[in-house]
Homo-oligomer: 346 residues x 2
Amino acid sequence: MDTWNCPFPIQQYPCVLLAHGGGGKLMQQLIEKMFTEVFGPKPASGLHDSTVLNLPAPRIAFTTDSFVVSPLFFPGGDIGTLAVNGTVNDLSMSGARPLYLSLGFILEEGLSMDILWRIVRSIRKAADAAGVKIVTGDTKVVERGKGDGIYINTSGIGIVECEGPIVPASVQAGDAILINGDVGRHGIAIMATREGLDFQTTIESDCAPLNDIVSRLIQAGIEIHCMRDLTRGGLASALNEIAQGSSKTIQIDEASVPVHQQVASACAILGLDPLYVANEGRFIVFVPETQAPKALEILQSHALGQGACRIGKVLGECKPVVILKSFIGASRILDMISGEQLPRIC
Amino acid sequence: MDTWNCPFPIQQYPCVLLAHGGGGKLMQQLIEKMFTEVFGPKPASGLHDSTVLNLPAPRIAFTTDSFVVSPLFFPGGDIGTLAVNGTVNDLSMSGARPLYLSLGFILEEGLSMDILWRIVRSIRKAADAAGVKIVTGDTKVVERGKGDGIYINTSGIGIVECEGPIVPASVQAGDAILINGDVGRHGIAIMATREGLDFQTTIESDCAPLNDIVSRLIQAGIEIHCMRDLTRGGLASALNEIAQGSSKTIQIDEASVPVHQQVASACAILGLDPLYVANEGRFIVFVPETQAPKALEILQSHALGQGACRIGKVLGECKPVVILKSFIGASRILDMISGEQLPRIC
């Protein structure tokens, strides 16, 4: 895929023009020469306003996410990878098997056609890796200075294949809380690139599709009460949202939350708390205590869960708070972040 | 709905801040106080990464559209109305009954909270009118100067209830082409507002949900071969896309295409051809000649089809072009627009 040449006449249109979003010939060229080239042949029945799909089952998960990350390219991924994995992961967190994505571009006039081409290929590569198909799309172009190169929306449909509802309200007192790896890589990778920070080794984003590792848990019959990927707001925000959605008290051991040494150092320099830093391939899963060892074993046997471990539990109390047992043994409330730590992280 | 007061503390946050997209407390407040207030109560199971839906049937239509219209408010609607109706109409054009929409906001830092509130209410009003539900959403905030107030993506799911595939390839030689009313209102309404043109009477956008009028045709057993709503690029682009998708020659009578006198005058002043001007509540439908009178009667008996008429037919030739028989009886090819007539029309 990396040697694929851009089929669109870059020589003729090195940059995106307003007319590429105007519904006329240039837009048709962009769609036919670049998008349908990468996302599969134009259907024999002709491109139409929506795509008709035959789902294998009528119980589905549906989600949407817009991506405005800055910079567009960062160590470990780009806005295209993020746009696919972000929506794949949101579906996975409901216990659904992601099948189809839509793709909505908002392009800024003047965006280099070469950058668009790199992102489009990256989207295809990420979709292939996650086993999902891009089935419908839309392109708009805004004037120079009314966007920032490219914004992407992906919406996704998945089939729900597990039994019980995987939602905050299913969380039970006594549940063990597992995580699939160390936290903070994505946020630090973005921050370091954006601010031009020069750490000794480049920290890469953990951006990855979580559908396969989640399906291993489901196939093994693990009774999953809730899952959440640790994106904007990081681990702390995800825990707080689940505490509120379940009206349960959650207790986390700070010492058990894995943080890579380089992420910890970068956080120390930047004055950030890794518990609030965004991830794009990390999730927490709430399972009954009795199933925790088996679930942990499944996570650890997967490439995306080698650093999996147990980080805490759900207490018997019904007060929706997150308690952090700190390194020195003290307990404090781990609140939601109130301001803005890292804007445009995804 | 018009007397609904904004439940979000506008006094405290008169404008959108970056932190409203940061995944923390401010974002949670915005979602819980404004969005769930308008789009229905937070589910008892807690807000989650995706929404689980039980569809009445597994054959669905799926579509996506981003809206970047400028100005945000115009005679006959606003970006919110457009975002709902645009996606509802894209589903309707595949013969699907629209059920669920997702809603993705890209807000610019500094957007007045009052404007957001007006748009959010307008989305709810349009969704109610079309009979669809907003079931999942996402909010991102970009820095001042990296957006233009608000961009909205809606993706939609509908249930396909009719038999044959309603796609360009189903178009047959001899098909009659019907339209549900006069063309060019939306584009002229936007253009007049944007450029501050002061025509004697305000032309309103035709923005409307087409699902009900389409379902009347389907319920009456009309054998619909293809439909298309006449958005960006107008009637001319829609006809060209269908000519190409079906590899058929289409012939249109210019005199039979209804254009409101004020739209025609505005087009004459602005140097625009109404056949290329965008609409948001107009569509064409291809039906067998024998069913044309009945289909026309159904269209005309509906509030959104009172100006319905026949505008042309599909010829026996298999060359994918659109031929326009002009007012004076001459024939010419009606091509796709190549440049940009009206940027950011939707």
